[in-house]
């Protein structure tokens, strides 16, 4: 395996947050954090039923300043702090949503969301089904997630597989400021509960965007770069990485198409299948641990639907199956351009079996016993 040399995105350590509004140097576009803040403002202006609540979201404006100024603008009735208890926050929001409000709750960090999981899994996700559609919970659960920001323990997890595995939730994760704005507005307006995963390493990423913007709706993946040889599937924090890898791949003669899923639930099979049928090769990239992860589901779906178009197995570039490491080790854990290129290189460009699974005593295990002999 190639040693990763990519350095993590420069970002301040959390929870020390960077203000959303920067005056200098002149901004080249809008940050994702600012886009999210605008989305909340516009959603609250558009609909009195929208409430923003959570830990530190009030006068402080959230540890990432995503709710900056909302209490001042809309009053402490509309944007307010809660006691520090995630199950209580989620459960309280259930009651608000049952009675006609549209709560947007912030669970401060990915790993701090876990105490809220029973409420999410046993009630939020199931309420529609268990009441035969009589009770809908139009609520948004915002979770800053993912690593790459040099954070201490419990501040860098990627929990999307837990949410996506739970029927009844919608799971959204933007990769651009425009999507951050549009998908959050759509999440607030959606009749179903939405887990809105915000890649914290992209909070300070910028791109030119004119607000209010509406991008493709839930359930639509988009090609961020078109290509003919390989489809690289990414979402949230790994989309910029996939684009970087595609650029590097082009220098080596591979034309890479980058698909940004945008919403994991609903899942856009159609766009992905159309892409892989054209390219015949597919690599999935995510930060979360690979075992039983979202990438495993995507690989299965692509192979079920594109088998006769595939020239190679679908490969995954993911975090290793270890707990999220200490900050000085995270660059070894996170997917890198080199690892994506390494995966692309293994996509059966010739007739050689994938050497990774042929090493004696390697992870190929039992699969090695039935492998074809190398020519």
């Amino acid at each position: 395996m190639t040693a990763p040399t990519r350095t993590p995105d420069p970002a301040p350590p959390v929870p020390v947050a960077t203000p959303v509004t920067r005056t200098d140097p002149p901004p080249a576009g809008l940050t994702m954090a600012a886009a999210l803040n605008h989305a909340l403002r516009d959603a609250m202006s558009a609909d009195d039923r929208v409430l923003v609540l959570g830990e530190d979201v009030g006068p402080l404006g959230g540890v990432f300043r995503i709710t900056d100024g909302l209490t001042a603008a809309f009053g402490a009735d509309r944007c307010f702090d809660t006691p520090l208890a995630e199950a209580g926050i989620v459960g309280f929001a259930v009651g608000l949503a049952m009675y006609g409000f549209r709560p947007v709750i912030e669970l401060q960090f990915d790993a701090f969301a876990y105490p809220g999981y029973e409420q999410l899994f046993s009630h939020v996700a199931k309420m529609g089904a268990r009441t035969a559609g009589r009770v809908r919970l139009p609520m948004v659960v915002r979770v800053p997630y993912g690593g790459g920001v040099g954070a201490v323990e419990h501040h860098s997890d990627s929990g999307e597989a837990y949410y996506a595995h739970t029927a009844g939730l919608k799971v959204v994760t933007p990769a651009t400021p425009a999507d951050a704005y549009s998908l959050l507005r759509e999440a607030v307006e959606d009749p179903d509960p939405v887990v809105f995963l915000e890649p914290k390493r992209l909070y300070w990423s910028r791109s030119p965007v004119q607000l209010p913007v509406r991008t493709e709706p839930f359930g639509a993946a988009v090609a961020r770069r078109t290509g003919t040889d390989v489809t690289v599937v990414a979402y949230g924090p790994t989309v910029p990485l996939a684009l970087e890898a595609a650029e590097a791949a082009a220098a080596r003669g591979w034309s890479v198409e980058v698909i940004d899923l945008r919403t994991l639930v609903p899942f856009d099979d159609e766009t992905l299948v159309a892409s892989v049928r054209r390219t015949g090769r597919c690599v999935v990239v995510h930060e979360a641990q690979g075992f039983a992860g979202v990438g495993a589901e995507i690989a299965a779906r692509v192979q079920e639907r594109c088998f006769h178009s595939l020239h190679a197995p679908v490969l995954r570039v993911t975090g290793f199956d270890v707990p999220y490491p200490a900050p000085k080790l995270e660059r070894h854990f996170l997917p890198s351009v080199e690892r994506v290129l390494g995966a692309i290189a293994r996509l059966q460009w010739d007739d050689e079996p994938d050497a990774r699974w042929l090493e004696a005593g390697g992870a190929g295990g039992a699969a090695g016993a039935v492998r074809p002999e190398r020519p």
């Binding site: 006691p83 208890a85 009630h123 529609g128 609903p266």
Partner: protein, 382 residues
């Protein structure tokens, strides 16, 4: 009904510890034999009209319990969680609420639900096996019965806060058990309710056992009602087998919450005369002498003795209540004689407001399968 908790000043928030503390002994109007006792701490005795309604509701609730237990033993419905012996708590809770208030029950609160006016067949939907919740929560202003313990408590706090935001005077009453008082959601709900001054009444039906685990393994508190003090919530203890007391205390608690002075916690000491469910064997964990002793404190018998002595109940009125109970039992038997109607598509119908494409694909695949036989749709036995 009292309009405030005795000893408190309605004109200001409760602040001192002594104002938050429950009575030293559970509030009661009647001793186990139905004799009046002066241990009601200033709460006002419910009027005769309310007691007549309570009697009728308890007779009907008791019959629902015996009928559902019998059907469970016959395998017509799944394991039924009996609330025999807890009728004074459940009827007291349901009758303390106004029509526009909300109830947040658990799986053991069938008697409260039918007292609230929900058709018994809809209440029994989970054990009939075709739906997790058989009634319309908005129509009856009653949340689905919660099975994970205490998880509905924060919902009640959120809903009550929502109603208050809209300028309504709606109160939410949460039913909980002694076991649920150990769950984190119980404590988070109490805390949220207190911080947001939500109009919520928490009623802990302390029946002494969480399935098999006795109270001593659940809590070392002097009484569960003391758990309110740390959150700044006024609390009360009540004899859960004396419906005069539950009506009086819960009525005052609901009035307290409705007046804008925040939540209240009530612990009702009672006893589950039956098993945890129809598949449970209480002899493995509790003494029969104890059960016999509690049987002498039967809340229904206690009320009947009192009403007859006070000249508030005669044979004719008692017979009418029992006839209504038999009619309800017959309705349940008729409804459960056949398996409930199910459609395979029920799996998909309501998961999302509009099914995503991936789910629509699975829905079509199921629709294309050969239909399962009707017998396979019968609700299972636990």
């Amino acid at each position: 009904m009292t309009t405030s908790v005795p000893g408190t000043d309605p004109s200001r928030p409760l602040e001192t510890v002594s104002e938050l503390l429950p009575s030293a002994t559970p509030v009661r109007f009647l001793d186990p034999a139905g004799e009046p006792v002066d241990e009601h701490a200033g709460y006002r005795e419910p009027d005769s009209g309310l007691l007549a309604r309570a009697y009728r509701a308890m007779v009907i609730g008791r019959r629902l319990d015996t009928q559902a237990t019998a059907l469970a033993k016959q395998g017509r419905i799944a394991a039924f969680p009996s609330s025999r012996g807890q009728e004074a708590c459940q009827v007291g809770a349901a009758l303390a609420l106004a029509p526009l208030d909300w109830l947040f029950p658990t799986y053991r609160d069938s008697t409260a639900l039918i007292t609230r006016g929900i058709p018994p067949v809809e209440v029994l939907a989970p054990v009939r096996g075709h739906r997790h919740c058989g009634y319309d929560p908005y129509l009856h202003r009653c949340a689905p019965m919660a099975t994970p313990l205490a998880t509905q408590a924060p919902h009640a706090v959120g809903l009550a806060s929502a109603a208050a935001r809209l300028g309504e005077d709606t109160v939410a009453l949460v039913l909980l058990g002694d076991g649920a008082s150990s769950e984190g959601d119980f404590h988070e709900a109490l805390n949220f309710a207190a911080v947001f001054r939500a109009p919520v009444v928490f009623l802990v039906q302390n029946n002494g056992y969480a399935i098999s685990v006795p109270l001593a393994r659940q809590s070392a508190a002097p009484a569960l009602a003391y758990k309110g003090v740390g959150y700044g919530i006024p609390s009360e203890r009540v004899d859960g087998n004396d419906v005069l007391a539950t009506l009086a205390v819960l009525g005052a608690a609901v009035d307290h919450a409705r007046s804008g002075r925040g939540p209240m916690l009530v612990e009702a000491r009672t006893y589950r005369l039956g098993p945890h469910t129809s598949t449970d064997d209480p002899s493995r964990y509790r003494d029969e002498a104890e059960s016999r002793e509690w049987a002498t404190r039967d809340p229904l018998a206690r009320l009947e003795t009192h009403l007859r002595r006070a000249g508030l109940l005669d044979d004719a009125r008692a017979a009418e209540a029992h006839q209504a109970a038999e009619a309800l039992a017959a309705e349940i038997r008729a409804a459960t004689a056949q398996p409930p109607p199910t459609e395979p598509d029920d799996l998909f119908a309501h998961v999302y407001a509009a099914p995503p494409a991936s789910l629509a694909e699975q829905r079509r695949a199921l629709a294309d399968e050969p239909r399962a036989t009707a017998s396979a749709d019968v609700g299972g036995r636990a």
